[in-house]
Symmetry: C2
Subunit: 233 residues, 2 copies
DNA sequence: ATTGAAGGATTGTTGAACAATCCTTACCCT
DNA sequence: AGGGTAAGGATTGTTCAACAATCCTTCAAT
């Protein structure tokens, strides 16, 4: 009887320890740069000169380049041979593809919601509640991140780690577009009520209605972004 | 009238040139290692010591590490901090997740086959034909790669570059498992006829039947691999 | 048998150096 | 004046050598 209990305890320790000190400096530099990008201090198209950044952050060129590689993999940066790295600038085709993938992954999650774990469903609910609280205190950037977490939670209903990772990347790319258009309030606020409705439908087990609602949400958001995107040129 | 023609021509040149000389040595080293892995000369769990490889391939440690990064991102290698890189060893959970994702992506492609481009449908047909030709001359590794290309083509019916890339990674991971079980002939041969049936159903526009066939294929393949996998321990 | 402490081996990170490529500027020619 | 060209500087690509940090093995001690 003591054996399985101890086993579970050790498993918990093992999982926690992994996050503890296993992190290279390149990964930490990447975290730093990722934050600069997702918060919009670095804009699409900006160039990241190696030497300047090395001097600023005080790491060697090699580690900086390793950090670049990590972010290139996440598609936040692009690397042009012999020219340097730049913050990614999304094209109209990219935008269309991002929503194409969102439709596939998030709708798949909603369709399978009845087989999803209670924890996964709870995270959907939690994200909606976070968004509503953030809206009450009028902190619109938080509304935006809650919105993103909501949709992350939807595709997480698939129960697949690889799908989770892909969605994380897709939504990180989308943040590049969000910053390209001003006034996060106007953009995110109208979607609060729709997220709430989707969550309620999911809890009631009405997955077909939830999927219809989700598709309409995605259509509207894509159209709005596409319009704003074309106007920016 | 000359302008658009010239424009298209220049676009063709530009696209080709991109693939031509824009390839870092790290990418070439990664190609080399990837080949070693997918052909099975490097087995899951094997360790790749930096210095030995640097001496063998005659590149510096930095470029070797850059090549490692690329393959880690493709999930063919795992990098354990301060311990080195190893050929990935898939767990049973990984196997289940790979088929979970395949079900989502390939079925989505099949469901949308009627809206797919003729080129995408042609690639499905071509992959089946390749497999049949390879079977006739009894070259079973080629049958295996044709099988993989067939399923790649199915998810490519989505028409999404990002889905394409994800499928490429998923199927590359699966090759790690294929090598863990012997006799590629026994494994791949029975699926030739089923691929042919799926392609025929797709051409006839019977997407529902094709999806049923695909799901049954995936169920059988996963069960077979899972069994072989459990026996290997 | 388990623990603890050297010791060697491997990886993590740095800095400097040189080659290759790109970009700018200034020049020359028509 | 305008366009092509060559030189120069700036940036990136790649390598090398060194040291620090960490891991793994061995061996001794309790």
């Amino acid at each position: 009887m003591t054996v399985p209990a101890q086993q579970r305890w050790l498993d918990g320790i093992a999982a926690a320890r992994h996050e503890l000190d296993r992190s290279s400096t390149a990964a930490r530099v990447a975290d730093l740069l990722r934050d600069e990008i997702t918060t919009g201090r670095l804009c699409p198209g900006d160039r990241l000169p190696e030497e300047d950044l090395c001097r600023a952050i005080k790491v060697s060129r090699n580690t900086m380049r390793e950090a670049f590689r990590l972010l290139v993999q996440e598609r936040l940066l692009v690397h042009e041979f012999n020219r340097g790295v730049f913050v990614r600038r999304l094209t109209g085709d990219d935008l269309a593809d991002l929503y194409r993938v969102r439709r596939i992954l998030e709708c798949e999650g909603v369709r399978g919601a009845r087989e999803a774990t209670p924890e996964a469903l709870a995270r959907v609910e939690a994200a909606v509640a976070d968004g509503e609280r953030a809206a009450e205190r009028e902190s619109w950037p938080d509304v935006g991140t809650a919105d993103i977490r909501f949709h992350q939670a939807l595709s997480a209903l698939c129960g697949s780690p690889r799908i989770d990772e892909m969605t994380r990347h897709i939504l990180a790319e989308l943040r590049l577009v969000f910053h390209e258009m001003g006034s996060p309030r106007e953009f995110h606020e109208p979607y609060l009520a729709r997220n709430r409705r989707m969550a309620d439908l999911l809890r009631a087990g009405e997955t077909e209605a939830a999927e219809r609602e989700l598709r309409s949400y995605l259509d509207d958001a894509e159209a709005q972004l596409t319009r704003a995107y074309r106007d920016a040129e």
